[in-house]
């Protein structure tokens, strides 16, 4: 791994995003817009908006980064640029961390925008500090990126890549406890939810946006999310093959 190659890759990824105003809008405007939409959907139901909107601020980056990374990496794989990079003096870690740094920066921007709108403009509460929601959001974004990178290895076209959203991300969103508390789901679903990384990402956000002690559960949540991120990055690295059929 070299700092120069990693930095150059991060810069290149950011330049590509800059050339694509719609993606920038998806990153920065859409999450905040959806939050405003939610605010008016739960018109006058402050408690419900708080319960769903506050954790959602930290989940948006996960969803968006998964989508963007799976498509971007698929393009690298299918356009021949990845094959080309693999013949150059550049490590796999340079590619992974290059993407990680670029998308991590974008996630930070996204978190700042969505948290400002949610916790400042729309009056959401974060008893443990909006900055903590922002940090969790960045962590979740990196998790989304790592999973997207891994997913891109199992798609052959962009059409297949977007199918991972309804197939793998939506179920996790439904089961994570955001919409219905997990202990009131069918017991089998509650059990399944323990195996899904988004459950822990949500749980940490729920703890941070509710009054009361963070306690040991919060540490467990953060560790699980970090572990899932490292595991998917490791698996993703395995799919960056120098040699292919």
């Amino acid at each position: 791994m070299s700092i120069r190659a990693t930095g150059a890759t991060a810069r290149r990824v950011l330049l590509q995003i800059r050339r694509d105003p719609r993606t920038i809008a998806l990153l920065l405007v859409v999450p905040a817009g959806l939050l405003v939409l939610l605010y008016f959907i739960f018109d006058g139901q402050e408690a419900t908006f708080q319960k769903i909107g506050a954790p959602l601020c930290g989940l948006f980056p996960f969803i968006v980064m998964f989508l963007i990374t799976s498509i971007a990496m698929l393009r690298e794989r299918t356009s021949g640029t990845l094959e080309r990079l693999m013949t150059m003096p550049l490590g796999k870690a340079d590619v992974l961390f290059g993407y990680g740094i670029a998308f991590g920066l974008l996630a930070a921007l996204q978190a700042i925008v969505v948290c400002s709108v949610g916790f400042v403009a729309l009056g959401l509460d974060s008893p443990h500090g909006a900055w903590l929601v922002g940090l969790l959001a960045i962590g979740n974004a990196v998790l989304g990126m790592a999973l997207g990178l891994l997913a891109s290895a199992f798609a052959r076209t962009e059409f297949q890549a977007v199918q991972f959203m309804p197939a793998f991300i939506f179920p996790q969103l439904l089961l994570c406890g955001l919409f219905v508390a997990r202990d009131s789901m069918a017991p089998a679903l509650d059990t399944i939810s323990y195996a899904l990384p988004l459950t822990y990402a949500y749980d940490a956000l729920a703890l941070v946006t509710e009054p009361g002690d963070l306690g040991g559960d919060f540490a467990v949540d953060v560790l699980v999310v970090a572990g899932a991120t490292i595991a998917s990055l490791g698996l993703g690295a395995l799919t960056l093959r120098r040699r292919t059929e």
């Binding site: 590509q16 050339r19 021949g80 640029t81 080309r84 013949t87 150059m88 003096p89 040699r243 059929e245």
Partner: protein, 245 residues
């Protein structure tokens, strides 16, 4: 005397076998590519030229055989800065400008902006630096792709059909560039399915259906077949190879 000995070949391949999916693509190919010359790899579409080149640059999973490139096993890390590879389909970032593409690949090789400017001139793209690569014509895009491989002045250039889709004037210019590179000591392996281009090469590798039919030179091929036209000469070789001897 050491100086009287012929230079060792830039590429030496023995009994190369490659299977891709259900296709047995290369059948026991053995050949040598001399250093400091232009070697043309010629054969009809689908005969295995790209697969052979992928094997040489170390991105192809090979079934058997040995490939030595510049004295090291194909795909060794120490070869990465010394071997330039241009894939058949242009492998550059379509959403970046010409200058940004070359800037990225240049920073991976650690070359400066002077070198980038020179290389843009070499491939005849001066004035196009600011253009988005995806909006260029196919021939221009493939020259951006070529430029990225020329940036660090590699010892060996592996070019997969670099002149396909170029108009005759440009084609001529590129072959002149290849000649200059060879004169300066670079080894070039250039594939083409157009026999016209064989006349531009010092050495010829004639392939068909995953087998090497001949390793020869344009003059020797003409003499062997009694055909002045190299396309007809190739056909003669194919006919003779099909007759049981």
């Amino acid at each position: 005397m050491a100086t009287d000995q012929p230079a060792p070949p830039a590429i030496a391949i023995r009994d190369l076998d490659v299977v891709r999916g259900d296709n047995h693509v290369l059948h026991g190919v053995s050949l040598e590519v001399p250093a400091g010359k232009i070697t043309g790899l010629l054969g009809p579409s689908g005969c295995g030229k790209s697969t052979l080149m992928r094997s040489i640059v170390g991105v192809q999973i090979v079934g058997g055989g040995e490939i030595e490139v510049l004295g090291a096993a194909a795909g060794s890390p120490e070869l990465r800065p010394r071997v330039g590879y241009v894939t058949q389909a242009p492998s550059v970032y379509g959403d970046l400008s010409v200058a940004e593409n070359l800037g990225y690949f240049g920073s991976l090789y650690g070359v400066g902006s002077d070198r980038i400017a020179t290389t843009i001139g070499t491939v005849g793209l001066r004035g196009f630096e600011g253009r988005i690569t995806g909006t260029l014509s196919g021939g221009q895009r493939s020259r951006v792709s070529l430029a990225t491989a020329l940036l660090n002045d590699p010892d060996l250039l592996v070019l997969d059909e670099p002149t396909v889709g170029l108009d005759p004037v440009l084609r001529d210019e590129l072959w002149r560039t290849f000649g200059e590179l060879a004169k300066a000591g670079t080894t070039l392996l250039v594939s083409s399915h157009v026999m016209d281009e064989a006349g531009e090469c010092d050495e010829l590798l004639l392939m068909r259906e995953g087998r090497l039919l001949r390793q020869t030179t344009p003059a020797a091929l003409r003499e062997e077949t009694g055909q002045q036209d190299l396309g007809k000469a190739f056909l003669t070789v194919i006919e003779r190879s099909e007759q049981p001897s």
